[in-house]
Amino acid sequence: MPENIFKVNEEEYMLPGNRACQGCGLSLAYRYALKALREDTILTIPASCLTVLHGLYPTTSVTIPCLNCTFASTAASAAGLVAGLTATGKTNTTVVAFAGDGGTYDIGIQALSGAAERGTDFIFVCYDNEGYMNTGTQRSSATPMGALTTTTPILTKEQNKKDMLKIMEAHDIAYIATTSPAYPLDLYDKFVKAKRIRGTRYMQIHVPCPPGWGYPPRDTVKIARLAIETGVFVLFEVENGKFRFTGRSKSLAEKGNRLPLINYIERQDRFKKMSVEQLSRFQKFIDNKWHEYIKKAEA
């Protein structure tokens, strides 16, 4: 049992009775991200599931100020907030952009790359549910190979997931961290840390989506955990260019006891058409990434 559960900020910034789906992985992650970010924060969010969670006019389910922005513009919207706050002398506010994988990997990548290259003083959070879930599960460049989506409805996605983290690493930004709702305290700690750092900070949260991935809502934490256990998603931090494993991924790296991919795949309907060949390619893809990480950690 984690003892440090008692150090978590007790305030809830995401109010009950919101519009997120039953067992939403984003909802769980967002609860802790907001607890860590707390007051003196302004959020900006593009069209996404999070827009829905934030609620329909004239009521919002979130008690942290938020500016909605268009799909492609999230990081630029954050840059504008930073510039506006600086110009008006309000330098104590942390600006946080919170976008889905579509708003990060795909349509949002240009503005994100621009803001990161300029070293904009903000936190960009990608909550990665591996597809366009708000519009009903279409393929994104974050969708893993072999997944069924409504735009890959028969043949499944042919390509591997894009390595967004590597792209962000190439920007030489102040801080990169990956987190999972399966480990809320690790997520909380990383957000607390990110808030203290200045410069561009990129956080990626792997958030399971019950309707989009095809599993019962009660399994959200289990699926998130299995992603870590199998190495599909890896917990780490990159600070000043230095990579290190964190949390559960750290002990997996030390003990070398990752679970086989099938443990993760078999519980999700989206992979039900995955071929044996795809499964082995996916496994190889994950193994290669894992070894890249091991090398980075040793460097």
């Binding site: 049992m1 984690p2 559960i5 008692f6 809830e12 995401m14 109010l15 009950p16 009775g17 919101n18 519009r19 997120a20 039953q22 067992g23 939403c24 992985g25 909802s27 769980l28 609860r31 934030h54 609620g55 329909l56 006019y57 004239p58 009521t59 919002t60 389910s61 979130v62 008690t63 709702p181 809320p184 305290l185 019950p210 019962p216 809502p217 009660r218 399994d219 959200t220 934490v221 289990k222």
Partner: protein
Amino acid sequence: MEKRDKNISAMSTPAIGEAGKTGDWRDMKPVIDHSKCIPSVKKRAACYLCWLYCPEGVIKTGIPVEIDMDYCKGCGVCAEECPAKAITMINEGDDNG
């Protein structure tokens, strides 16, 4: 005359229950067996993994642990994650649990 909002752009203010009483979404509901629930058994603040993992933030830490049934969507994550197996999901309407 009814009070009309004067804002010229759309600006929401925070309140609980934006989507209504989301407890109505449930087809199953969590029931806590306090004879198994760790804080109740130990008679001190402990465990609270149900609180930790609740995606809605509708579980109150305390002795005993309480769930706000007005807004609990009935996802069942708490039941899955409870290390003492103190929470079971029962069908809505089956109130003998």
